[in-house]
Symmetry: C2
Subunit: 283 residues, 2 copies
């Protein structure tokens, strides 16, 4: 069982950061919950939340007395934020993040906060963003990747116990393997849903109304924030390019089989897909 | 308000056919509900359903006294089934189908049953198939396309009123326009979800467990029946090829922008996609 942190500091009050504090408070894993957010309006809103004890004006102040610091800002901003807070992080504090790509962030963590930093990535997003969408059960039954970087095994263990206590299933991986996995199971589906919407946006607007639940579900994640995902794609460029190229090869395979009337190959592709999709692990 | 049919005959007791009889009975739109299905086991199961009055052993017997006949078998089988039943269809009976592609089926209908046949396509499927998945509310708030073919306007009007009475929103279109629309809003998403699954099936099986809701929803429809969808793709080949080529062009655009680090173009594609997906009409 995990011992509570005396003070958890979240930097960035989006869906993940807000949900994390809400969930930690609810489960008694957090003495004081403190927060910093870049936006004045978000800070004002955070001050009215029952799960938030103090809202700070700067990241430096916010991290000072925390024994767990969680960086929840967009992925491209995280390395600079680490530099900014590093002089103010307590010696025994664990620093982590919830970024969707771990290569650049873990390299920065290993350099800037080598003993304190462990990367995290809970597979619990939504196309809805911001503090208003926060849910205390967001992490339940979700995989959370933990990337040790150069931290002490004790810090990795403590962080793993924390995520597990929030209901997540923590998986330890290195940064390169993490980025390869999420390029396939997360960033590729995001790219595909976006490409599908960009394609359909060329058709008459009314056609959207004719669609069934298939199109609705296939495209849901394309409603996500474009700037957040531009950054994620850019940070995971090589692994995502490889995934897109494999997808593209399968697409050509189906397209060409369809064009030449090769029913057997078309059926084979659909059968492989259907077999993959049956018995889905996370209903 | 629609006057009830005295006897509705459904040929093929899959999800759509079973749901249609169930819904029509529930809403008082059907005196007697009669059914034929190719499979002996399905016929036996249908005999125990409260919404089914008689199950016949042959399509010829089943259609005999019906004033509405609905062909609900896989799309490639429909023209031959029309030939088979044509001599037994009553003079004033309306014959329709629920096939996902209308070109070949409407051409057959216009030739074989010119006065009786009106094509239908309710945009209400599911990855779940068969009589066991039937729901009386399957058609509620769904678009249903009606394709007049060569039938009398009176037959088209009666069928439109029937679908509307089941809760659908009926749209009259010609077969070519129908096939172009569904190639985009239905068959393309199905193809894309299948290609995504076929690609991911190449990764270690465990990775699937790491995924979040994004992959789950993006791929849901890939669990559909491979043979049904092979037939749909084959029947809508030219329109689907055009849609796949447009999708492929968008895919290359994103891929190449990502490779050359062109953040602006990547952001532009994601923004177009997000704008298309926001304010979804069918939640």
């Amino acid at each position: 069982m995990h011992k509570a942190f005396a003070q958890i500091c979240v930097l960035g009050a989006g869906l993940l950061g807000s949900s994390l504090l809400m969930a930690a408070k609810k489960r008694g894993l957090c003495g004081r919950a403190v927060l910093w957010s870049r936006g004045e309006a978000t800070r004002a809103k955070a001050r009215t939340q029952p799960w938030c004890d103090t809202v700070f004006e700067t990241p430096e102040e916010a991290v000072k007395d925390a024994d767990l610091i969680v960086l929840c800002t967009p992925v491209e901003t995280i390395p600079a934020l680490m530099e900014q807070i590093a002089p103010h992080v307590g010696p025994g504090a664990i620093v982590t993040d919830v970024g969707s790509v771990k290569g650049a962030i873990c390299a920065a963590g290993a350099k800037i906060l080598p003993e304190n930093f462990v990367g995290s990535h809970p597979m619990a997003g939504s196309e809805k963003t911001g503090l208003g969408a926060a849910r205390e059960n967001l992490f339940e039954n979700r995989t959370c990747f933990a990337v040790p970087c150069r931290a002490e095994p004790r810090a990795v263990e403590t962080l793993t116990q924390f995520w597990d206590a929030l209901g997540a299933k923590t998986q330890e991986v290195d940064a390169a393997k993490h980025d390869e996995i999420v390029a396939r199971v997360s960033h590729l589906p995001h790219a595909v849903a976006n490409i599908l919407c960009a394609t359909l946006a060329q058709s008459p607007a009314q056609w959207k109304e004719f669609s069934g639940n298939g199109l609705r579900d296939t495209t849901r994640i394309a409603a996500s924030d474009p700037e957040l995902w531009r950054q994620i794609f850019a940070q995971n460029r090589p692994a995502l390019l490889a995934a897109l190229d494999d997808f593209s090869a399968e697409l050509s395979g189906l397209r060409d089989a369809l064009e030449r009337g090769d029913d057997r190959t078309v059926k084979n592709i659909l059968s492989r897909a259907s077999a993959y999709r049956s018995d889905w692990p996370n209903p």
